[in-house]
């Protein structure tokens, strides 16, 4: 496209933002058009109730897609949900989608799964779009060059009713990852390294564009893992510029444009990457070849150490607030400073979630599990992110590799990522987990979470303690 001579170079974020401004007020607040919304059972009931109480309609029902994921048991789908509150919440969403005419994948549909897995899988997520969901990990969809961010229930209602949101433009941050990662290091380690470097509030107020050779080299699924945890760095959205990998991934997806529309969309998507010379409010650089497989030791996602490292000493904290937080984390986690990470035993291994519940994640874990056995006393769960991921894994025989090794093979859902369904940690129980949050109580009251990659969780399941995946050939 020909740019007017003096046009200021724009970032990918600027382009998406500018093309969605319905109205701009003097203080910079914009009424932003929202192209798509994903809806799930936990954060939508009160929004629909709000519409009902005020007699309002959904402006564009077909611009939404709804699914149940957080509450659903991952065992037998044939039976009704046992927990009464969960059952009511699912029934409530089903009533709402019927009443308001919103497309919905029921629990028995093969396409059911975690919101952030099914959006990309269906081609619902597309480059250049604005997309929201009442869920902070909506950042995942940024892997496609879509401006995707999590919103609260009042905003869910606002989007349902008006297809817009009031937003202040975010600042631009670019995180450039150069170099080639070493063996055993993948997308999860890259994003954990970034969070460890900039901290859980490091991205507040920014939209992060992930760039550089190490990001370009990632598969679409790897990019989704990276963008997924942008929120753990405090940023509301992460972005990766769309490229050939993006288009190849999208081609033929059920909700992707077809035929002439595809050609037109493709031409547009190719104009989206940041212009040369575009400037960022903040730049961060990382070399992927410096990253070792990472694990968390504490109760904040920024609490990362290399697998070869040890639990840090609170006396080394930068200030008193941080020192107190570290001491509290050690107490909660039931570990002491100086303990080698590989000496920490686990009781549970969880492979799944919107961070790492896609087919490549399951393949990576299966490669470690193949021909090995889960350690005695370890409960190990593999929970595909969607019914389609499950189906694909079964086609490839991954389910048998897992079950032969002693892992449980489950139905799709959020499962042990958060303590809202029957898959939970007991108080004091320690898990190696591919999910995204190690907050106190996240996986169950009193439960202890160590975050890491799918291959590392599989390795931990087999060793019975946190383990270095590079020791497995």
């Amino acid at each position: 496209m020909v740019q007017p001579a003096k046009a200021k170079p724009k970032t990918l974020f600027d382009k998406i933002w500018d093309s969605h401004v319905v109205e701009r007020s003097d203080d910079g607040t914009c009424l932003l058009y929202i192209d798509r919304q994903l809806v799930h059972e936990v954060t939508s009931a009160q929004a629909f109730e709000g519409l009902r109480l005020t007699g309002r309609k959904v402006r564009r029902p077909e611009a939404n897609l709804a699914v149940c994921d957080h509450n659903v048991p991952t065992t037998d789908r044939g039976k009704p949900i046992e927990d009464e509150d969960s059952r009511i919440q699912v029934a409530e969403l089903e009533r709402n989608v019927r009443e308001f005419g919103i497309p919905y994948f029921p629990l028995t549909d093969a396409r059911q799964g975690i919101v952030h897995i099914i959006g990309p899988e269906q081609g619902f997520t597309q480059p250049g779009m604005t997309l929201v969901c009442g869920d902070s990990h909506t950042a995942t969809h940024g892997a496609f060059g879509a401006l995707a961010f999590g919103v609260g229930t009042s905003e869910v209602e606002h989007v349902l009713a008006t297809q817009t949101l009031y937003q202040k433009p975010a600042k631009n941050m670019r995180i450039t990852v150069t170099g080639t990662p070493h063996r055993g290091v993948g997308a999860k380690d890259i994003i954990l390294a970034i969070i460890g470097k900039i901290g859980t509030a490091g991205g507040t107020g920014h939209v992060v564009e992930f760039a550089g050779p190490a990001i370009e080299a990632l598969s679409m699924e790897g990019r989704m893992t990276v963008c997924n945890m942008t929120i753990e760095a405090g940023a509301r959205a992460g972005l990766v510029a769309p490229d050939q990998k993006t288009y190849d991934y999208m081609a033929g997806k059920p909700m992707a444009p077809k035929g002439g529309a595809w050609e037109m969309a493709l031409a547009y998507w190719k104009t989206l990457p940041s212009d040369p010379g575009a400037t960022y409010d903040r730049e961060v650089k990382l070399d992927a070849s410096d990253i070792a497989p990472l694990v968390t030791w504490g109760t904040s996602p920024e609490d990362v150490v290399p697998i070869t490292g040890a639990v840090p000493d609170p006396s080394t904290a930068r200030d008193d607030n941080k020192r107190r937080a570290m001491e509290r984390a050690l107490e909660y986690m039931g570990i002491t400073a100086g303990t080698k990470m590989t000496d920490i035993p686990i009781q549970t291994a969880f492979i799944g979630s919107c961070t790492n519940g896609r087919i490549e994640d399951l393949r990576a874990a299966a490669a470690i599990a193949r021909g090995r056995k889960v350690a005695d006393g370890v409960r190990a769960l593999v929970v595909p992110g969607s019914g389609l991921v499950k189906h694909q894994a079964e086609e490839e025989g991954l389910d048998r590799i897992f079950t032969e090794a002693g892992f449980e093979w489950r139905e799709a859902g959020c499962s042990m990522c958060l303590a809202m369904n029957p898959d939970k940690l007991a108080p004091g129980e320690r898990a190696a987990s591919t999910s995204n949050r190690n907050f106190e109580g996240r996986q169950g009251p009193g439960g202890r979470t160590h975050l890491m990659s799918p291959a590392m969780v599989a390795a931990a399941a087999i060793r019975g303690r946190i383990a270095d995946v590079r020791d497995f050939d």
Binding site: S19, V22, E23, S25, D27, T29, L31, Y33, D35, T43, A45, Q46, G50, R56, R59, E62, H70, D85, S86, E92, Q126, G134, T138, G150, V151, G152, T153, S154, E155, H158, A161, T162, Q163, Y166, K168, T200, A201, T204, G234, A235, R236, M255, P257, A261, W262, S300, N321, K322, R324, A325, L418, A419, M420, P427, R437, F439, E440, G441, R442, P445
Partner: protein
């Protein structure tokens, strides 16, 4: 949404950083389909003991803080999940204002949508108000939204920033969806242009 004009209230000190939304309200409470009734579950994991009884050491279990309407806390409050149940629980307990060095983005907008005023102040100022809060009922803080000041018990007035649109909505208790619906024509105009430029977005 209830209006917010001036609040003179007891402030509870919670000197913790990175208080995440799982800590504010654990996931098991997200099964509700209502906005109200979450107050008793606020900070559940640190407020109650294993047997379900109140932990007497936790600030909100002490007098006068059971009646606190202001919370003074550490940096990055409200990080983590987008759950609006966090501000719902805070509101249901009785909090109308939270003072901290900074807040996580999603929590920030969720709180305002529910009539909770979030006041960002420099760490040193928050430290002073934390000390005020520790004095209990003798040291109420006054939050005057119209004038954008927090008045400390010793009379010191501390100004704070707030975006004019949020201030306007809060002062008047406005329903944002209703306001935006008045712009239906403008939104329709945008859609018509977008349908021409990027028609594949309209299946």
């Amino acid at each position: 949404m209830e209006k917010f004009t001036t609040l003179i209230a007891i402030a509870a000190p919670l000197p913790m950083i990175n208080v995440d939304t799982d800590k504010i309200i654990p996931a098991k409470w997200l099964k509700t389909i209502k906005r109200t009734g979450l107050g008793p579950a606020l900070f559940e994991a640190i407020r109650y003991r294993k047997d379900g009884s109140e932990d007497p050491g936790f600030v909100l279990n002490k007098e006068p803080y059971r009646h606190a309407e202001i919370l003074v806390t550490g940096e990055n409050f409200g990080c983590g999940s987008s759950r609006e149940h966090a501000p719902w629980a805070l509101l249901d307990f009785g909090f109308r204002c939270i003072i901290a060095p900074d807040f996580a983005d999603i929590f920030y907008s969720n709180a305002f949508k529910n009539g909770i005023l979030l006041v960002k102040l420099p760490q040193a100022t928050v430290d002073k108000m934390m000390a005020d809060a520790e004095k209990g009922a003798n040291a109420r803080l006054t939050v005057d939204l119209e004038r954008q000041v927090v008045v400390r018990p010793d009379g010191e007035e501390v100004p704070f920033d707030i975006d004019p649109f949020r201030k306007h909505c809060l002062l008047n208790g406005l329903d944002e969806v209703g306001l935006t619906l008045q712009k239906a024509e403008t939104i329709g105009g945008f859609e018509a242009r977008q349908k021409t430029a990027t028609p594949w977005l309209y299946r």
